[in-house]
Subunit: 154 residues, 2 copies
């Protein structure tokens, strides 16, 4: 099996996982700190989805560290299949969460003007949290493509 | 290059493309027929994204018909690369559009109760249109995975 940039058990793979954890964690922290987020299903779903992403990426990050320290090879077809399924599921959920929250925020900011009418809605925090969620998705999408490529080119 | 179910230039590939056109077209028709959709950015974006999907899938559908009638093989790496990029871009846009519209509809139906308060909002039409958009995404996701698998296993 080939080794690509972002493969499991490599330094670049570990960097990708750490980046995913970092952005997802920052997205959760900002959303939780914004007043009134819990009244909106989309924002709660964003937190749940980013939480799942943190758990998944953290788990694979620890696996990368273990593989790097012990010089183990994680390129077995069974392991890669598992990574592919997990990466694709979390990537799809992250994109769905980021987009549904973005839809609601655009509605608040532009379509119905709630951000101007209700200053207690912390729209700028919502927006930054969503941008961070999109960045998380971008990183997990890269991981997913690398894993799928590895699996398909066995 | 292998030939899989859903490969370009096969009957199953043509069926997938026709299904994508059908669901995307139905999603657009329902959304356009719902009163007041144009006031909401997410719903306008859904129509634009589904329109792009119809154009892309129709184009590839015609190419499949041509290949089937003329018995041409569409499995060249250059063509498959082109299909992969187009399929992934339209699949991502379709999922993003379906999710952002779903976020707004859930907000209307559950979080702020606009569907009950304003009967002129045709929430059930929005919902069916979004379900059709998700079905379009499911079909284009299958096409995308098949194309990527074909490209990676060259």
């Amino acid at each position: 099996m080939k080794v690509l940039i972002g493969s499991p058990g490599t330094v670049s793979g570990l960097m990708l996982r750490l980046g995913q954890c970092l952005f997802a964690g920052a997205s959760i922290a900002l959303m939780v700190s914004a007043a009134g987020f819990s009244s909106y299903t989309a924002f709660c779903y964003l937190i749940a989805s980013m939480g799942l992403q943190v758990l998944w990426s953290l788990g694979l990050g620890f696996l990368d560290i273990y593989a790097l320290r012990m010089k183990r090879d994680l390129h077995s077809p069974v392991l890669i299949s598992l990574f592919v399924v997990g990466d694709w599921v979390t990537a799809t959920l992250s994109l769905a969460a980021a987009c549904s929250s973005a839809g609601v925020t655009v509605l608040f900011a532009r379509d119905v003007g709630f951000c101007r009418s209700y200053p207690q809605l912390e729209c700028s925090k919502y927006e930054i949290s969503i941008v961070l969620a999109f960045m998380t998705w971008l990183l997990i999408a890269i991981s997913s493509l690398v894993m799928f490529w590895l699996l398909a080119s066995v």
